[in-house]
């Protein structure tokens, strides 16, 4: 899995976030779109795309997109 695909999925899940808005170093919790609905759609997307159902606390334990990506990668 490439981080680029993961970022595409992440941007799609954040509903209307323009492609290219975020990269691996983005702190996703600082995005103004990051709210309870975003957590839900990101959780869902990760589960559907990678088959891993994460809890909110597990996702929010990370700072950057890359950290979250590496964690998911390690679980695959």
């Amino acid at each position: 899995m490439e981080i680029k695909n993961f970022i595409d999925h992440f941007e799609y899940a954040l509903d209307g976030l323009e492609s290219g808005t975020i990269d691996g170093s983005t702190n996703f919790k600082d995005l103004k779109e990051w709210d309870s609905l975003a957590i839900l759609t990101v959780t869902d997307t990760i589960d559907i795309e990678y088959g891993i159902l994460l809890r909110k606390s597990e996702i929010e334990a990370f700072e950057t997109i890359e950290q979250l990506f590496n964690f998911i990668q390690s679980k695959l």
Binding site: D15, D35, L37, L40, T43, D47, I48, L53, R55
Partner: protein
């Protein structure tokens, strides 16, 4: 995990009553700091739109009473004919006696009638059907009135933007009776009490009685205001629970019933929100047309009444024919608890919803 099947028992009719007063999410725009885009996003993603709100003096008991009267009229029945009343609610009139006793007294049922409440919410309608089928199967009853209703709008804090725009009020009445005819119904139910705190009203019961302290409002990390007497929902945990448990349960139910997904006419899920229902549909790999969700945007999430409400709102007219109608019903929520069943509603005599109107009863 209880799995049962029952033969020669049918659902004869169901009426759902909703209050007249509509409230739309646009009226709650101040909850979102006047951010119209956020409201649009909630409408588009979750399907939020309108909900029905009961006036202060109207309770789930009143809504279910009205639904019962309408059902009796449609089915040409009298309360005397009923020998079991099951009332599913989380918002009873009193901590005691039960809503079932109160309605028994109001409508003149026979004294040869068992009447009791069951404290369940979104899974409650399926649990109620399972109980009704069980009581008929073991010979305790021949005709059961299943009432399922809640006024959750009263339990949510109007300043809690995660819950206030979600819940509506409603009451339903459904008749289950013995028949000769060979149709079979399958059930699967389950619980996970370790998730009890994910959907909870912390105060107002015996553990934590109402006091000055429990009335105090506080603001949580996400900026939502509530008190300990208000309903709290851990949305992300409840979402994860639902997508993990419900598709699996429905698949297990169909396996148990030896029924293919393609043989099911409709999957009527608890109308939690549009995203949840469609998500479960996708996970099951089914055509979403078979997953009614339109009632959510009109009634809101109406807790225990949402399955009968969705059937009446979206399928009511289709049931006038004698075509075979195989339905999967699935409720999930507070407890945490869940229940799914495969039922055959062909030749159901009445499936409708009406607005609450105490004058015309």
């Amino acid at each position: 995990m209880p799995s049962n099947n029952f033969s020669d028992i049918k659902i004869s009719g169901s009426v759902t009553v909703v209050p007249k007063v509509k409230r739309s999410i646009e009226e709650d725009i101040e909850l979102y700091g006047g951010n119209y885009k956020q409201v649009e996003r909630l409408k588009r993603t979750l399907g939020f739109n309108q909900r029905r709100i009961a006036p202060r003096e109207v309770t789930a008991l009143d809504l279910c009473e009205s639904a019962s009267q309408s059902l009796f009229k449609k089915l040409d029945l009298s309360p005397i004919d009923i020998n079991g009343i099951i009332f599913i609610t989380q918002t009873p009139d009193h901590s005691q006696p039960s809503n079932a006793s109160l309605i028994h007294g109001r409508l003149g049922f026979s004294k040869q009638c068992a009447a009791f409440d069951v404290g369940l919410g979104c899974s409650g309608f399926v649990y109620g059907l399972w109980l009704a089928f069980s009581l008929i199967a073991n010979g305790s009853s021949s005709k059961i009135l299943l009432l399922a209703g809640d006024t959750l709008s009263r339990l949510v804090n109007p300043k809690d933007r995660s819950l206030a725009p979600l819940f509506g009020d409603a009451g339903s009445a459904t008749l289950i009776e013995k028949e000769q005819g060979g149709r079979t119904s399958w059930f699967r139910l389950g619980s996970d009490g370790t998730g009890a705190s994910d959907l909870i009203v912390p105060a107002g019961g015996s553990r934590n009685p109402i006091s000055k302290k429990t009335e105090e409002e506080f603001t949580d990390n996400e900026g939502n205001v509530r008190s300990l007497q208000n309903l709290f929902m851990n949305g992300s945990e409840v979402f994860n629970f639902s997508i993990e448990v419900v598709p699996r349960e429905i698949q297990e139910l169909l396996k148990y019933a030896k029924c293919e997904k393609s043989e099911v006419d409709y999957f009527v899920l608890h109308q939690a929100n549009r995203y949840m229902v469609q998500n479960i549909g996708k996970r099951l790999g089914c055509d979403l047309k078979r997953f009614p969700i339109a009632s959510f945007g009109v009634f809101g999430n109406i807790s225990s009444a949402s399955i009968p409400g969705a059937m009446a709102f979206e399928l009511g007219e289709n049931f006038s024919t004698k075509a075979k109608k195989r339905l999967v019903l699935s409720g999930f929520g507070v407890g945490l608890s869940w229940g799914s069943c495969l039922v055959d509603l062909s030749e159901i005599r009445c499936l409708e919803y009406v607005e609450y109107n105490p004058i015309n009863i």
